[in-house]
Symmetry: D2
């Protein structure tokens, strides 16, 4: 039988095969509903706890670039709240969130090898490839939280208790230790790496893991926009930037003087 | 003492005055966290239930225009998941969500008048103004769910039980009945109106009420994008549209033939 | 015969009824092409000049809120250039661009009345309505360029020369003079008002006039993003904002302490 | 002396070092202004012609996914035109535009080798790398325009005439011929490849080449939105999609049945 994302009839609404009024409203919480939306089934209590923990961890990070962008957009287009949220989301890209989906991709790849020599070899091969590409390992390293990101152990412990196993976190720890040895640097597991690991333990496809951050950030951005309504800072940011950022005009690289024809 | 949205120190992270690792992760759920983000305090259990009910109600509506837009955007820019979500959010504007914030604005305005003659007069004055402007009352009327939107009573009952009062829903019922008499049409309260009423009963400023829909739709859009990864329809939508929508080219209104000078 | 926006065949491409390779590339410039795209016909030389003048006037305004938002978005998502441009465009809303489409709407409304008493009465009625709504007249007033915005006379003179008439600029001058008398303030015509007037003189529907600003701003934002690649300021904006904008946490208006049930 | 993007004084406005009213409005066209915005200097007439040709080529492609997304967004948020344009731009990503910037990157890399053996070896090494990565060569291959994309020769001829040289087009032809031999397939140079080549001949940094498409598409999207105002199709697209796209619900890959704990 076919099952669609959702459909409406005059007297009832079906969402992912469940009756919205009978089975969802007042019956299940946001994290469970998001799980249902993604997977087509309700989560176990443990799965719901992991999803909730990931979402609350990612909601608010203070005055970040994305929050500033959303506030500036609200300043110019206050009647289009959706535009301010969208504007902030657009900065939630590779640089700050890439570690979540790329991290999950790497961990899901490595976890397919059995524990022991086989996995060691997979880790070694992966790190060699990273070194060759002069790249970084997603999910390890942090500019502020050293030597240990305080969120990591909390997330790992919660997830293990909730799910009854700790597969991808163990892969990440093994990867992190080998990377630290190999590259000779302090490279703590960061929160994005931990989130990649526990979402992988639930079973989510790495390609959608960034989506958890986007949902959480939407909520955070709505919070910032409401704060901007009552404690506006966007105009100050604009003025401050205008005053402080005088800079030389570049001669853009690669553009020679005009050749007249 | 100052309290900021959030701040990071090497060994701990504070969000809206709470320690993320000690007080939030694994301790509070998404709805409570979003409430904290908006208001600076944790919700009562009843307040959290209302927020949860609003968010799950608004998450998924089937193949809507915004879901199609997000899927089409994913088709062209699959490496930028944030763009696909943002693209879908941008259609969550006045036409489909205006009833939530405008409805809350009207209900919060009317609820300031004491029950009885005073409120009756306020309702009458408001409906006269709507008639003069040839406008519509936000939160009533629905193209499909007639005579009763099945979500409305579920939301009202849940909210009354959770909050212990039913202030703005009563205003909306009074408004809806008077509008139906005055305009001589079947105008059921719709889900957006019910959501406006119960968010107002929690105490949320009407200006941020659309934000609840944006957070819920973000989650729904992530669901549609994941569905698009596994059950792609965007290319079919494109082809179908291209085939079926041949149409006359307009002579744009107001643009006369060129006048040479 | 039907004419579509554009269509492709294996050996030729038709855009708005013209052969792209035979009639467009190398034959017409951007302003003429944009005119064709909007109206379905090529512009007169004068019409093309006005469109060009509007677009170049609106392209670059220095370090504005929208430019900062685009730069911050680029910082987080450098591989999705389209997201950075989109993010900046989203702040090009009512506050900064509303004067263009609203201004054109008002001018096109007033210009329908014949010059003389009839138009005087229409202007008077419009200004009375503005006063009643405690609103502002779009297209007049500027915080910096007083008493005269230097762009206005340049645009009016160029447009009159190019089009051979000066209809909507005259309406705007009459409106501005009466508003200054009535409200007792120096209210110069600003560049947005002038643009609304000359686009109306070409014959463009007021509902699409904001589109000219969006096209011009896209180009300006691409310029800022390229400048950000070579002269990055976004990280400084973020740090500066974080340092300088500590602020009190609000008790959001309208949200009472929790009532436990 | 410092030169900024732009700055305002009460009686004049400076953009990229030029006086807006004295030197820009009515004096230079859009393509020249965009060149100035990117590079800090005015173009030669030939450079301006190439920029114009690129922009007009990329403006309109009929009913594409991005045009449909913009129309659907306009349907839901008609008062926020900027959101509809932004929504359409967000689909202008790697899949459809990647060939422009990636193509320019490859051509600029290969063009650094002197003509002759050295360049042959660079082409061979590049194609070997493409084959190893199981990737495609950006700028060649097209699903519809076979065996020759009609835009390519027009663009190459115009650019050579305008600039007086034909460096990167020659690299692209050499690359295309060797790729066709090596991979044994008909792989015509496509319009994106040609645009990458001629923008490289002007001297633009490959990292900003996608920006030309974004500016042109903004104009095309404004055209579609205005067409949507007068010839609406978005609601039909929605209905058509809803009717025609019933589909199986996936069991998402990698998500096992819940394990209760």
């Amino acid at each position: 039988m076919k099952q669609t994302m959702g459909q409406s009839e005059p007297d009832r609404i079906i969402v992912r095969g469940k009756d919205l009024c009978e089975e969802i409203i007042g019956k299940i919480d946001f994290a469970s509903m998001f799980f249902l939306e993604l997977t087509g089934r309700l989560p176990s209590p443990g799965e719901a706890r992991v999803v909730d923990a990931v979402l609350v961890t990612l909601m608010e990070h203070g005055i970040t670039g994305t929050a500033i962008a959303a506030r500036l957009t609200y300043l110019g287009a206050p009647s289009a709240l959706q535009g301010a949220v969208a504007s902030g989301l657009l900065g939630a890209g590779d640089v700050f969130l890439g570690a979540i989906d790329n991290g999950a991709r790497v961990l899901q790849h490595l976890a397919r090898e059995p524990v022991g020599d086989s996995r060691h070899r997979a880790i070694e091969a992966y790190l060699d490839d990273v070194a060759t590409r002069n790249d970084r390992v997603p999910g390890i390293g942090h500019p502020v939280h050293k030597p240990v990101d305080p969120r990591v152990e909390v997330l790992f412990a919660m997830s293990e208790e909730a799910l009854g196993h700790r597969t991808h976190p163990d892969v990440l720890v093994a990867l992190q230790q080998r990377a630290a040895e190999k590259f000779g640097r302090v490279l703590p597991i960061n929160a994005d790496g931990a989130i990649a690991a526990i979402l992988s333990d639930v079973g989510f496809d790495w390609r959608i893991c960034r989506g958890f951050a986007l949902v959480a950030r939407s909520a955070g951005l709505v919070g910032h926009i409401y704060d901007e309504m009552t404690n506006p800072i966007a105009m100050d940011v604009w003025n401050l930037t205008d005053e402080r950022t005088t800079y030389e005009n570049p001669t853009p690289r690669g553009l020679p003087a005009a050749r007249e024809v």
